[in-house]
Symmetry: C2
């Protein structure tokens, strides 16, 4: 494999000039640049990432810190990040926190090593306070998608707005017996934050309509747990006529339960979810959409700009959710 010295020799210039011509930094005469570029192409020259990294202190890689990536939201987000990173000529290094404490500890220990990555993207609401402060002490810039930490640029879906959007949709259809089914409290406190905000949005919308919010039903945020809980909820004689589920996965569990009980959706029961999960259309589910792929692209673009010219921006930006009406909701 050709090295930069070969290119310089073939172009009849010094290593330094070749480097300048190749990287675009520093000024080089046009004719000289052309010769260098041609020589590089002829030799199929590729700079050694390790050498560049050692000389510049940059790695050309972005780290992504994610809790269990086998979920719709995180894996879709990752696609957006990977695509955007590639277009900026950056590698994506994946750190999966898993679902247990042991992995998390090992990942954070690994972070203390130097210069594996130029910047870190922490995704979804899974960092503890201790982890946030550990990240801060590493010295590489970090941004967060989700509940923002102090001193870190972050984006977050406006989860309270999610709750009011979904609830107001049901209210506008004339529903009054509306129940909110949420996720569990067993996961991280910071994940719980999103759930609490969605619940609060629901309660606010109910009260604004002069209605008493029903107690939120909590369980594991999976279709399976939701199915089991929804069965008993829907068997009750005073069952709700409308359900606002905190995620599409939960909503799917409710839909499956309703169907197996012979309830017709949306005639006997209206259901709204959150996410616009890949299956939401197949379930004909009305939902509040968020677009993780676009989130990923947005965060990478921002990071690349900030890497080039650090802005010191530590703002926390709310992402506006969008209601998608499908066939799972109908007038009361």
């Amino acid at each position: 494999m050709a090295v930069i010295d070969d290119v310089a020799r073939l172009a009849g210039v010094s290593k330094a000039t070749a480097s300048r011509a190749l990287s675009g930094r520093g000024s080089v005469a046009d004719a000289t640049r052309q010769r260098v570029l041609q020589a590089a192409a002829a030799l199929d020259f590729r700079a050694s990432p390790a050498a560049v990294s050692l000389a510049t202190g940059r790695t050309g890689a972005l780290g992504v810190l994610a809790p269990a990536i086998d979920t719709w939201y995180v894996s879709t987000l990752l696609r957006g990040i990977a695509e955007a990173a590639l277009s900026h000529d950056l590698d994506v290094v994946l750190y999966d926190l898993g679902r247990g404490a042991e992995m998390r500890e090992r990942v954070f220990e690994r972070f203390r090593q130097r210069h594996h990555i130029d910047a870190l993207i922490s995704t979804t609401f899974a960092l503890t306070h201790r982890e946030v402060s550990r990240l801060a002490s590493i010295g590489i810039p970090a941004v967060a998608l989700g509940d923002g930490a102090a001193g870190v640029r972050s984006w977050c879906l406006d989860d309270e707005r999610v709750g009011t959007l979904a609830t107001e949709h049901l209210l506008s259809l004339g529903h009054r017996r509306i129940v909110h089914v949420g996720g569990s409290t067993v996961l991280d406190e910071s994940l719980f934050a999103a759930e609490r905000l969605r619940e609060r949005g629901y309660q606010r919308a109910m009260r604004a309509a002069g209605l008493q919010p029903a107690p939120t039903l909590l369980h594991d945020p999976t279709a399976e747990a939701s199915y089991a809980h929804a069965l008993s909820m829907l068997r009750s004689p005073d069952r709700p006529r409308a359900v606002f589920a905190a995620t599409d996965e939960i909503a799917m569990g409710v839909l499956l339960a309703a169907r197996s009980l012979g309830l017709r959706v949306p005639l006997d029961l209206s259901v709204v979810g959150v996410d616009d999960h890949a299956y939401a259309a197949a379930f004909d589910l009305t939902t509040v959409r968020q677009d993780p792929r676009e989130h990923g692209e947005r965060i990478v673009d921002w990071l690349v700009a900030d890497l080039a010219a650090p802005s010191g921006d530590t703002s926390h930006e709310l992402i506006e959710p969008e209601l998608v009406v499908r066939g799972s909701t109908a007038p009361a």
Copy 2:
């Protein structure tokens, strides 16, 4: 941040000795090694990955080449890979091929650069012949999970066995009107290979039972497309009494269609899927399990061993599938 010179000085030895003591290569007196280790710990020394990489030619990273990672199989596989890589102190660099041709081209172009990664794991059946040969010319060792390429160590689910397992289960329950619903041919030829094998397994089992296999119904391998197709299939007067779906996602579409037509599962219709998808239990779906997480761990472990001592092994290993019986299948 402390460098190895600081460690050497504190321990009262030379850089060379410090390096030997830290890496474990070369012989160092026990007492000396202890002093170096203590000094390193005291200074919280971490070797610079870039410098190590430049000196040794190793990057300490594994590349993972994946088609669209927002699918259950790939994202779960990625978890297994990430966890295993972490335990071997390796980074995971993600290359998402996406669903279009443009991304693929850019990813493969990127591969031509040197030494981003020590080895490459290509996952699921998505490589074209041209891509396989491009990979081969890169010079970094590659292994494949899926349809094996010549000269590359590979693992693959025994897809024909998948088909016979599922079909024989339905046959053993007394079913005779069994239809196979498969994925589409619009994706890569190599993905199609798995589908064809599952179909062949179905046909073989049917013929072995003295039955005529029905023509396979093909459509996009999503729950949504499956739902639409299943509706018309199940409305037909001579509808099947049992369905073997090529994936759980397809099976879910069939189940949703059956329920919306008022058909009772498994009384009126038995359904078998493939994967043991995260939702399979919620759907109470009988399925042929594969364990992508375990596949990921297995492949990384093999790779690490082969990196340490290249075996030249280019064998192609079949992974045995396992039937999981749940409530979506019952006697005819």
